[in-house]
């Protein structure tokens, strides 16, 4: 591996000069700089991140801690983060809990603290006090994406408003019998997003004087399979079922659509469905939903961290990221008015 010294020697300057020239620092003559670049290029020199990390105290890498990689939201955030980091010359280190708690201890007490990263982005998950302390001990910039974590600033949509918009859309259409499929803390990781969305559903219903039935608030775990299973139960009785379902995630909404197809229930004639996300499948399925962009959220959070690292500008409390109601063909006014209230 060619080192900085090889480059320096090859053109008869000091390693300090090479270092300065390559990093674009001032105080290097134009001609020297170009000679350095030329030499580095022909020798194929690439600085060692370990060495510069050790010497400068900055690793030029950022970490992302998440409960699971293989979920639409999480991987999309990762994509956005990576894009910004790459553009800024940073690398991305991923710490996944892999859907279970087994790795937690190891991740928090070893990996993350190894000075491998300059900043950390945490994807919505509940942390123990001990873990929170670990993160604070890092004393490098930290931010949370998705659901908020007590005491740490976070980037994400306004979940309360988003859920209200979804439910209000159904109410505006004339629905009064609205069920809710809620997400939740599977894979040992609880966080408050599903709770906020459910409370928004309840509050919106209450604000309009509409009744909610406990058995119409079902657990779908944010996922297709569980959403479908819940919907099969919810919709099985033609004589007594809701005219609309608000789903806390698009994947659960897909489950409802699939269940309706199996049961021969027409959408939107007999059942309206609204989700949250604007998942890749939502548009081709015609799903009305609340759009959010996890990729943009990841990029935004990464930029915040990057700015802090570079310029020292800290945003204490970032404004919520935008969300938007996208009306497609899965929602319409209720049909069976005569049957119910």
């Amino acid at each position: 591996m060619t080192s900085i010294e090889d480059v320096a020697k090859s053109i008869g300057v000091s390693t300090a000069t090479v270092s300065r020239a390559l990093r674009g620092l001032p105080g290097v003559s134009v001609s020297t700089r170009s000679r350095v670049f030329g030499a580095a290029n022909t020798l194929g020199y690439v600085p060692s991140s370990s060495a510069s990390g050790l010497a400068s105290g900055r690793t030029m890498a950022m970490g992302v801690l998440l409960p699971l990689i293989e979920r639409w939201y999480f991987s999309a955030v990762l994509e956005g983060v990576d894009r910004q980091l790459r553009a800024a010359g940073y690398d991305l280190v991923v710490f996944s809990l892999g859907g279970s708690g087994v790795n937690r201890e190891r991740v928090f007490h070893r990996s993350i603290l190894r000075k491998r990263i300059d900043a950390l982005l945490v994807m919505c998950m509940e942390l123990t006090d001990d873990e929170l302390q670990s993160l604070q001990a890092l004393d490098s910039p930290t931010i949370v994406v998705g659901g908020s974590v007590k005491g740490v600033r976070h980037v994400g949509i306004d979940d309360d408003a988003a859920a209200r918009d979804a439910v209000a859309h159904l109410i505006d259409l004339g629905h009064t019998e609205i069920a809710h499929l809620r997400g939740g803390g599977s894979y040992g990781i609880e966080f408050e997003v599903p709770r906020i969305r459910e409370e928004a559903y309840l509050a919106t219903m209450a604000a309009h004087g509409l009744p909610v039935r406990p058995q119409w608030s079902l657990f779908g775990d944010f996922r297709f399979k569980q959403g479908k299973e819940a919907a099969l139960v919810l919709l099985r009785d033609p004589a007594d079922r809701p005219t609309a379902v608000f789903c806390s995630s698009d994947e659960m909404a897909f489950g409802v659509i699939s269940a309706a197809a199996d049961l021969g229930i027409r959408i939107p004639e007999e059942l309206s469905v609204v989700g949250i996300d604007d998942h890749e499948f939502a548009e081709p399925l015609g799903l009305t939903t609340i759009r959010q962009s996890p990729e943009e959220q990841g990029a935004f959070a990464a930029d915040l961290l990057l700015a802090e690292l570079e310029g020292g500008v800290t945003v204490a409390d970032p404004a919520p990221r935008p969300h938007k109601l996208i009306i497609r063909s899965s929602t319409a006014p209720p049909f069976r008015r005569s049957v119910c209230g």
Copy 2:
């Protein structure tokens, strides 16, 4: 940040002893070792990866290079890789091309070469000669997951056999009019998996003396939306359409199912559909498919790399990973025998 020296001083030993004790090397008395662990613990000492990386030449990190994070296959592989790495005490560095070619240059000529990683896992993508050379110049263990790359060993299923199994299943059921939805090289990244699967389809049809029509081989880009669009075209004429569709990916198969629902075509009575993947949605949708486990593939590849790093054992040509036909409710014997051949 407390350093190894702080630990050493606090119990009156040398830094070398601390280093040895903490890494579990032989030649440290039991009592010393426990005192070291005690001190490290109370002081909250965690070794700096930059420092040990520089000194030992091993970063204890592995890289994964992929075209895009937010795709079922890719993120699942990542999950499997991460799990094995975490267990082995390694960190995961992710290099995503982000779906376009913009980052390629940067990734190949800077990020990857910075000595940040001890080994590299490349997710199926076509590489230029120049890029291939860059990787070889790394001279650290490398492996490809997914489609093969010329000159680099790879881990993945036997795509030819998998596709043959899928098509053979349809033929066994009695289908003769079988269409194919193929994947492809979107986002500027070509690779050979879709080609192999298509050739297997053609070969299997030919082997059974069955005709294929050019217009029954459609491009679905491995995705739901494009798969659905293609299916809407393929299935629009009730008088002249296939009785079965073989899809190179489950996501496209979902598109076919959705298109069939929109067109009022019953599955499997009027149309059989088979996919490849066993995506999370396949079981709840009743999709017959060829199961593969990207997570297992990622874990397997990571293990290979890890073994090489630790023991020096190199597997030149790993055997294909298993695949399996999972029969569900989307396939059945053809119904409209009278209409066609």
